[in-house]
Symmetry: C2
Subunit: 328 residues, 2 copies
């Protein structure tokens, strides 16, 4: 990596890997500043606290190259100390079940992102795979208020459309869709309609663009040119400041984990989630984004495809940092 890139802020707004030394070193060697890491999906309260413990150990065991960031200052300090900062998040509200008081308990342990829903309905709102989306519920309102008070980011990835629109309005602090793409780029259950994106940006909300094949035009065969064209169109639609990357990179997992993500504990039948051909394997990543350090390749691709250098740096990290400052 060039020295010019070494000084830049690179933030990935969502990854869910089976982390090990090799993956952490790839991020470190790639000069990645910070990663928002998913800890849990379907896990209950107790299991989620246990997962946080596992993470505390992972960080301790690798504290020469990584650290746990609870504030944006921690992220900047990590950069100075040449460490990759990890921000903890939940891709579901299952950890808090129906208990408003657990939000603060998890915040105190460093959780800084929480999705209201993961595909399915929760006590807080509707999921993107539900036939009918309730919007934000009574409990959902209470929880959003509590998250705003504490400084935990309301993440609307995997939520239904009405739940997105409701949460954008209800939240007193700007909300994020940490990992998804616009439907105008690739129509998918998990991607986002234009009107939601416009409403999101109006309230200073944020979208992290996904590199997960099911969210991409032509899936794993998506060309970086097409991805960059979408970025340029999106900048026109909602402005540069509201856009980042949330790659949704899921590396080093066996295939049964993709089925766990889809089925959790909610059904005894098989649900294939986003896979239209009922595949039970992980989809193949595009050649230009296969590992965390590929944010560098993305930078090169963006500049080669007519995105100004300054804008590329904003999208690849600076915007996330500014957005996080609203919260922690």
């Amino acid at each position: 990596m060039s020295n010019q890139l070494k000084n830049q802020i690179f933030i990935d707004g969502l990854e869910y890997c089976n982390w090990n030394r090799e993956i952490l070193e790839d991020l470190w060697n790639g000069g990645i500043t910070a990663v928002h890491a998913t800890l849990v999906y379907w896990e209950n309260t107790e299991e989620s606290f246990a997962k946080i413990k596992e993470w505390e150990k992972l960080i301790l065991d690798n504290n020469d190259i990584i650290c746990h960031a609870k504030t944006t200052k921690d992220i900047l300090d990590a950069k100075l100390n040449n460490k990759v900062a990890f921000i903890f998040g939940f891709q579901n509200s299952a950890p808090i079940a129906n208990d408003i008081f657990l939000v603060e308990k998890f915040f105190d342990k460093g959780i800084r992102f929480m999705q209201l829903t993961y595909n399915n309905q929760t006590p807080l709102g509707g999921g993107c795979f539900e036939p009918k989306d309730s919007g934000v519920s009574r409990f959902g309102k209470s929880v959003i208020e509590e998250m705003n008070r504490l400084g935990m980011i309301v993440d609307l990835s995997h939520a239904g459309k009405q739940t997105c629109l409701d949460a954008i309005n209800i939240s007193s602090k700007p909300v994020a869709i940490s990992h998804a793409n616009p439907n105008f780029f690739h129509k998918a259950v998990r991607n986002i309609d234009e009107d939601v994106l416009i409403n999101l940006a109006k309230r200073n909300g944020f979208i992290g663009l996904s590199l997960y094949p099911f969210h991409l035009k032509d899936q794993g065969k998506c060309k970086i040119e097409d991805f960059c064209l979408m970025v340029k169109q999106l900048i026109k639609l909602i402005g540069i400041d509201h856009i980042g990357i949330g790659s949704d990179l899921c590396n080093n997992w066996p295939d049964d984990v993709v089925m766990w993500m889809r089925n959790g504990k909610w059904t005894k039948k098989l649900d294939y989630g986003e896979s239209l051909n009922k595949s039970t394997s992980w989809p193949e990543q595009p050649s230009w984004f296969k590992k965390g350090s590929d944010l560098n390749k993305l930078y090169e691709g963006m500049v080669a495809n007519g995105i100004k250098e300054k804008e590329a740096f904003k999208i690849l990290g600076e915007n996330w940092l500014e957005f996080m400052k609203f919260h922690f």
Copy 2:
């Protein structure tokens, strides 16, 4: 009690009391055959298993006059052995959280009724207090199928209207609204519209009529004449076989328990539930239904108000027993 009444089946389809020897003796002296008792509302999995343990102790400590019924045969045996049979139920799906496999775990411990929701939205469906009712969700469908398979009654009390209509259709076995009244008798968030009652009965479903003041015309001042008039109208509307009693009797609790029922752990503000004047106390029961044994008074009142004896016996217990036979 007369010998004639002693031989009859009296079943209360829902009570939530702070049970002690005195309350149990009242039921026993009153010749009550069986009571469906609520164990939990907002409690999580672990707390719900703990509550079952408490109940096992209560039953052991009073096994001269009560027993735990897991089948309708257990209820009939209890009658023969001169004991009051208790059927266990949950007024919420909080105990199973998002885990389909917990349904059978709780069934194995004797849980025979479970509400999909309690006022608020759950992962299974919409609550009657939600501004927007999702209907039955993806997980809700899975759970109903599992409850049908096992023989656990789907209870739609405290559910939203769409969730009621969906569940009536989805469930392969008839469902119950264990404790509520028709809205034509007294308009209330917790009471039930005519079209839902008609759909319910068409699918062999069941309603347990409530004696909880907020569900009654003139609340605690409700006259037994008016209650019986409603019963007669309801028989005309949906037929005699679909009607029982689910008194919703909540005796021997301090006032903070009514606020616990309303607020659980879902809000940091106070929610007053069904109390339109923001009372934080238990409402006053009608003079003719203050304790479990008052099913006898209700019998007398029904006969005095033109309900045939045979019909009164059906409503006061026989119908519940027949309905339960669909399930366990």
